[in-house]
Symmetry: C2
Subunit: 459 residues, 2 copies
């Protein structure tokens, strides 16, 4: 097995070059939401990959192109790792709240500031740079490396599934590695095994075709606000339990391994409460993590009816609307849940119409915690960071990860490298340079660990 | 008994002078909502009353002044009628939707257009003009007449109750007559015996001190939209029944007389539906009228939580608010209902706060349908209009009428004189001139009928 130590030394002495590449990549806007500079950014990224010894190509989709790269190992039996990332970025607005322009990356206080530094240009580059370091030092990489960099993740990756389905052979691998998001606020590394899915729903209740005077018509004109309230109250109970028949049918049972992993996670009722604007979290640790990681949540994100401006208007509203996002967990199925919910709503009150926002939404996905790659990766992360990582069974939010098991048939593991205060999607997005460099070291170590495990027959 | 016939002839030949007075009064803006021209209007009105032989005075309140007038009968045993009206008007905006300026009254197609023509300057003047006609023809009036013209009805008459309580002797009377609102759309006259009250409530549910990401925190952060929905769903059932304990305790039972009056009212499911923007009313006639006239209604007029702009935001809202107006019926009491509702809400979820908008709101009031003045007035209206009036047990909306029985101890009867399409509170407010003149005739006939009934000992 090749020795990772000289690779780490190589990384240490090339920090300046890595930073220069990252700055070049961040300087190029790549805002998929308004098709601004995305193709130009793909070209810069592909050129950087080529310069680092990775064969790169820009592959079309129905939307923004995918940047694909490959750096095979000389070992014919090598493990194959597919690294996923995205080179598009969120719009930078509001511009006036940036301390320096979003696309003029600048280092201040040990951080690189700029849109896309942490989300996700800095993180996707770590894998390429780690591969390049291995190649430079040893003339080979310990695992076959493939890279798929998405150009429209910030727009919901609408073409990713189709692209993957059409390129199964090209993308064939043993595991997908994703570095996106942030480490634990304590600075501890994290390993993320999945994410919840999301289904966007709008419920609309219709009363009369106009607002009516609540005095003159109160009691005889239908009030859609009341219709909506009664439908919603019979859809989710006060504890958050969804009352739709069969809603939980496909939810996986919590395993003993899941429980052990949760038991090892940190929990502080006050500081966890503070992150969401509460004096403290009032539920116990096990329930807290179980709810975010392993249970669906039926959220109302918007509710509107009648007059809500200054003063008041004594009207019976003509319409009422609830905007909902349902956070689903593996193995809940989009079509199944939509159908069950539609039937439930219709049976309660046919005057309430249900509309699904987006097609399919993001699917839930979760690599089982007892997958043999997890301890291998956890060990590598601990060696690279000198600190045991926490295992996150699933992030509460939604990512386009389901495509890997569902379409490609392989598991995925996330190792977020960004600092907890990276301000992704916000002004003054930044990446702590030490996190960036540590990410390159970590990827290099993960490559070695996967190769060793393959040699030993454990993977 | 004095003969009303020459009085009607007198009215017929003085139409031009009545119209000139009304035009003068409408030309003076009197917008209580922004204290624009109200005092000036009070002065014009008092001068007009003096010119018509009524002793008028402008009496201060903590808000806009009351214009009081008196024209006693020479008969020491005469019935005393107190006529209530208001000389303030709604703001005229939006100005661009008026075909002629709101304070430049003009006659078109047999209607006088201008803010306040029907609501309520034209209607309050009818009583003064009828009294003046009696005086001019016979040198006397058949009943003692008192006039109280409110300067802030359009602002909720906040000082009326205090004013009445301080001036009980001045205002002492046997009955209050109010001409406000419109006749039946068919053109049939109406007699209105009351109105519902209104209580304005805001419910606010508080979650965290900020919006949270529904993926990252969905299931562990509290969602105030759900709190509010569950509280509301347990406060009013889908049929509209209020679930607050004791809410209906003081509601009067429906009497046989009430039922007979409802039975005589017109009902057309399609055209009644059309007035509120529905294909048809689906409930039976008796239920329709009972609900508007004799039952309370718990209305939601505004509902807001989270993000309701274009697109969507996957947040857990930090706040949710419902704006409510409860339409109450006689003898429901404001303080009692507020206290019961507050206890009910608090028991359901102490995180939902209840705020009462305004102090006291408008109280419900209803003169019993078997009051002996009703057939007397109905007979007078039928003689004046050559058409039997419909009896409206109570308007669904709210008016400051409760002060008469509650503070002065006397009943009230409404005879609206305006055309159904008067556009009150809207652009192009107007009063059909024939309605205006018919109103003067009707008041004159009502005065005579009350005097006759007093002579016969029935009143």
């Amino acid at each position: 097995m090749l020795d990772p130590k000289p690779v780490h030394r190589h990384i240490d002495v090339h920090e300046e070059a890595y930073l220069a590449d990252l700055i070049d990549l961040v300087r190029q806007p790549s805002i998929s939401a308004r098709d601004e500079g995305v193709t130009e950014c793909a070209e810069i990224l592909a050129r950087q990959m080529e310069n680092m010894g990775v064969k790169a190509s820009i592959l079309p989709t129905d939307g923004q192109p995918v940047v694909f790269g490959a750096l095979p190992s000389k070992d014919p039996d090598a493990f194959t790792l597919l690294c996923y990332g995205h080179y598009d970025v969120q719009p930078p607005e509001p511009l006036e709240r940036w301390d320096s322009p979003p696309f003029e990356p600048v280092v201040r206080d040990g951080r690189l500031f700029g849109r896309g530094t942490g989300d996700n240009k800095g993180q996707l580059l770590t894998h390429v740079m780690a591969a390049s370091a291995w190649k430079a030092v040893h003339g080979d990489v310990p695992v076959n490396l493939k890279f798929i960099f998405d150009g429209e993740e910030e727009s919901g990756s609408p073409n990713l599934e189709t692209f993957v389905a059409k390129n199964r052979d090209l993308l064939a691998a043993d595991l997908v590695l994703i570095s996106d998001g942030t480490m634990h606020p304590s600075g501890a590394p994290l390993i993320s095994l999945g994410n919840r899915g999301v289904i966007g729903i709008t419920l609309k209740a219709q009363g009369a075709d106009r607002d009516n005077h609540s005095g003159n018509k109160g009691g005889v004109a239908p009030n859609p606000a009341w219709m909506l309230i009664h439908v919603l109250a019979h859809t989710v109970d006060p504890s958050g339990k969804v009352l739709v028949e069969g809603f939980y049918d496909d939810v996986r049972a919590v395993t003993e391994t899941d429980r052990e992993i949760i038991e090892r996670l940190p929990f502080d009722a006050e500081s966890f409460g503070a992150t969401m604007g509460l004096p403290r979290v009032t539920m116990p640790k096990e329930e807290y993590y179980r709810r975010i990681m392993l249970e669906p949540y039926f959220n109302i994100n918007g509710l509107i009816s009648g007059y809500t401006g200054p003063g008041s208007k004594t009207i019976i509203p003509s319409e009422a609307e609830a905007r909902i996002d349902i956070r689903t967990v593996v193995d809940q199925r989009f079509d199944d849940l939509v159908e069950k919910l539609r039937a439930h709503i219709h049976a309660l009150d046919p005057r309430v119409e249900m509309h699904v926002r987006g097609i399919g939404g993001m699917r839930p996905s979760r690599t089982p915690a007892d997958h043999p790659a997890i301890p291998v990766i956890a060990g590598a992360v601990e060696r690279a960071r000198d600190r045991e990582p926490f295992i996150n069974l699933s992030s509460g939010g939604s990512l386009p990860n389901a495509v890997w098991p569902n379409t490609l048939g392989i598991p995925h593991v996330g190792i977020p490298y960004a600092n907890a205060d990276e301000n992704n999607h916000s002004p003054n997005e930044n990446l702590v340079l030490d996190c960036f460099y540590a990410g390159i070291h970590t990827s290099a170590e993960v490559f070695a660990a996967l190769a060793t495990a393959r040699d030993r027959g454990t993977l």
